[in-house]
């Protein structure tokens, strides 16, 4: 049907000069653009639909992409999840980066703690200590977590994880069941401490001479200059002339997200203990697991680490590269 529409469109285009846009990539239920007579005038007298490009869009189509939640709860989908369900999910899908208690692994974000630290020399800005709204937590988990598989959680799972992160921050009891009605009613302690932008907030003056006492100038911090730029260039060239394993680039770009630090039980290249048992299964098995995903004794790996745009060959090369690093 699509093809015939296309042909019809091309025929009309050549015949009359009227542009008929292909409906192929669109939902076939969408209607053609409004005609000139249907134009709506907006509140300020704007010429709505002046160009008439694109397609009007249905509520159903909008709902598929409209994933944002406002502080007043507008946008929350029907559903529910408990702290208890959230704990199980969190351990399985979140703790590998955020730590079992929300303390953060490596440089991944800390989720809990830090209450009363915002005026400290090293403040800890967490959901409990800093974030203003619970709706932001639900919104963010739903749109982007878990890191390697964004938008893979169900609404119920998102409620459960939101409940559990609030629980980790001692903000709710362990018997809480979160849903579209009670989520926005839970207020976070730091909400009142966000203020409008008052800038410009400093006023320097344009002095041109005798602006300060030269004897009073003190250098209070300094970073040593980098190596001679000529040397720097040579190093860059040297790197590019070293033979590079074909799997290295994809390892660095994708696999290293977890494998560099051993996130989620991922074996670290170069760590013999991590690879000994795995090697016994043989390379084809390891490659197959990397492509298809595996739930192992020590951790979980989603198919292709969540980077589904990688080809099987690229994944295989990256696995080979990691094994090569082990031998080195």
């Amino acid at each position: 049907m699509c093809r015939s529409l296309n042909l019809l469109g091309r025929w009309l285009l050549s015949l009359t000069g009227v542009l008929i846009l292909s409906a192929c990539a669109q939902n076939e239920l969408t209607q053609p653009s409004l005609s000139a007579g249907d134009r709506i005038i907006g509140y300020s007298g704007q010429r709505v639909g002046l160009y008439g490009y694109g397609h009007p869009i249905s509520a159903t189509e909008i709902a598929g992409w409209d994933i944002d939640i406002r502080p007043d709860g507008v946008g929350l989908p029907p559903g529910n999840g408990s702290v208890e369900q959230g704990e199980w999910l969190y351990e399985e899908q979140c703790a590998e980066c955020h730590g079992s208690f929300g303390e953060g692994v490596g440089r991944y974000p800390v989720l809990a703690g830090g209450e009363g630290s915002l005026q400290d020399a090293r403040p800890s800005k967490t959901v409990g200590s800093y974030w203003p709204y619970t709706t932001t937590l639900f919104d963010y988990i739903r749109r982007t977590m878990p890191f390697t598989q964004p938008q893979s959680l169900s609404d119920d799972e998102t409620y459960a994880l939101t409940a559990y992160v609030l629980y980790l921050n001692d903000l709710v009891d362990d018997d809480l069941v979160l849903n579209q009605h009670n989520l926005a009613t839970i207020t976070l302690p730091n909400q009142a401490n966000f203020i409008p932008d008052p800038r410009p907030d400093v006023a320097n003056i344009r002095c041109m001479s005798n602006c300060r006492d030269p004897a009073a100038i003190r250098i209070h911090s300094e970073v040593a200059p980098p190596p001679d730029p000529v040397v720097l260039t040579a190093q860059v060239q040297d790197q590019s002339s070293t033979p590079v394993h074909p799997g290295r680039e994809h390892y660095e770009l994708f696999c290293s997200v977890c494998h560099k630090q051993g996130v989620g039980g991922a074996p670290i290249p170069g760590n013999a203990a991590h690879w000994q048992a795995r090697m016994q299964r043989g390379l084809p098995d390891l490659v197959s697991n990397a492509i298809n995903g595996i739930v192992g004794d020590t951790g979980v790996m989603p198919p292709k680490g969540g980077f589904m745009q990688l080809t099987d060959a690229e994944v295989a090369a990256a696995v080979e590269y990691m094994l090569g690093e082990r031998r080195d």
Binding site: Y51, E61, F147, R199, C207
Partner: protein, 433 residues
């Protein structure tokens, strides 16, 4: 080393390489070539056949023909001009940042290939045929647009800077980065082409209470920010081209938002959705991040503007001085509030200042180049620049900023920057009081 000795060396390297395995052989040959290259350049230094009275070899031979590189790249001798990252800043390279090599650039337009990168979930590969922009919410006529639709709207091109609000944020507590690339490199300036957001909003028709717009990306982070309607109707641009070609994937191909003069994070890449509403959404990137924590524990929200700023790009740590003599102190100035009115340069740590001259066009919300001629006598110097924008705002000192904001606000650091020039010509990053 004579030519004969050089030939013998290369021959012996190649010969011994024959006995190696393929991979080792490649490695061996390449290391040999580096050796040979070093030897060749030392030979050239003794008898420079590229300098008069000799005629250089490239004047006595033919170069490559047309379309040998259908899409050209910089000269191989510019290989060092690269984006670089700082590994300790982020947990991985997927949600991370890289820096523009400012020291090696000229003029006010940043080449697309070295514009700093900031991703929250890596670079998505999106076919323009499959990309869509949805506009809905408090509008009369919610629509979905293809790229073919978007390029049919009236278009506009403007040269505007793009800066991450965290640019220089590592320096609030003291000098920390050893190069200009890292102290100021979350900065670029490009010619952006697209359709004004106001044109699209007129097309869909705003309803009475329309006051905010949520802009959302199609990447794996669905990065989202709330934009006030005033900005949307003022100069926001929905961009599909950059520096004369389609956007680079790193910059949001095929579609992004540009809010001129505002923090880069609001310029949502891979733009897929604009929702009109009557209040902001308080997304993660405007609550947990991109809010400015003050010493009293309160935090400023919706801190959009990138205030007036400047930095000396030569000399800098990557561009030391070779010997005493006349130099052009050069640099960049920019302001999110409009045009740069003047830039002053000091070589004595701010005791005295001289006004620099502009060496580029002075465009609103764009990088602006300045230069000041200076005779360096070989003494130590503390080199600074101070920009003033058309609102009369004078770029502040670290002391003035810290007095109001402390040192934990991460974002919007626009203090006067100091380079220390040593008698040997080396340049280091310092902070003075």
């Amino acid at each position: 080393m004579s030519q004969r000795e050089l030939d013998n060396l290369v021959h012996s390297i190649a010969k011994s390489g024959d006995q190696l395995g393929t991979l080792e052989r490649r490695r061996f040959l390449k290391s040999g070539l580096i050796l040979a290259g070093a030897a060749a350049s030392s030979a050239a230094a003794q008898s420079p056949d590229h300098l008069p009275p000799s005629t250089p070899p490239w004047s006595r031979s033919l170069g490559r023909g047309v379309v040998s590189h259908p899409y050209g790249s910089p000269s191989q001798h510019e290989h060092h001009v690269q984006r670089r990252t700082v590994d300790w800043l982020t947990a991985d390279h997927i949600s991370s940042i890289s820096f523009t090599p400012l020291a090696d650039l000229s003029g006010i337009v940043t080449p697309s290939g070295v514009v700093f990168e900031r991703y929250h979930a890596g670079v998505p590969e999106i076919s323009p045929d499959q990309h869509r922009l949805m506009i809905h919410g408090l509008v009369e006529r919610p629509i979905i647009l293809s790229m073919d639709d978007l390029v049919r709207f009236p278009c506009e091109s403007m040269i505007r800077f793009l800066e991450c609000p965290a640019n220089g944020g590592m320096e609030w507590r003291g000098a920390q980065m050893d190069k200009l690339q890292f102290s100021h490199g979350m900065l670029a300036c490009c010619e952006w082409t697209g359709v004004r957001l106001s044109t699209l909003l007129e097309e869909v028709g705003l309803k009475k209470d329309a006051a905010w717009i949520l802009a959302e990306g199609a990447d794996g982070s669905s990065m989202s920010r709330s934009i006030p309607m005033d900005k949307a109707l003022d100069d926001a641009l929905i961009v599909y081209a950059q520096n004369g070609e389609m956007l680079r994937p790193e910059q949001g191909y095929p579609l992004r938002l540009i809010n001129p003069g505002w923090e880069g994070n609001t310029c949502v890449k891979w733009l897929r959705r604009l929702e009109v509403g009557d209040q902001p959404w308080y997304q993660r990137e405007e609550t947990s991040k991109y809010t400015d924590l003050m010493p009293d524990g309160r935090a400023r929200e919706f801190t959009y503007v990138q205030e007036c700023n400047s930095v000396v790009t030569s000399p800098c740590p990557e561009k030391p001085l070779s010997e005493p003599g006349k130099y052009q102190i050069q640099g960049l100035a920019w302001s999110g509030r409009g045009r740069i009115k003047a830039v002053d340069v000091s070589v004595d740590g701010g005791v005295s200042w001289r006004q620099a001259r502009f060496t580029s066009e002075v465009l609103p919300k764009a990088l602006t180049r300045f230069a000041l001629e200076w005779s360096w006598d070989g003494s130590p110097a503390l080199i600074q620049s101070r920009a003033i924008d058309e609102t009369g705002y004078v770029q502040p000192t670290y002391g003035q900023l810290r007095q109001v904001r402390g040192s934990n606000s991460i974002y919007h650091k626009n203090a006067i920057h100091t380079w220390r020039l040593s008698p040997n010509g080396a340049v280091s990053n310092v902070q003075i009081s």
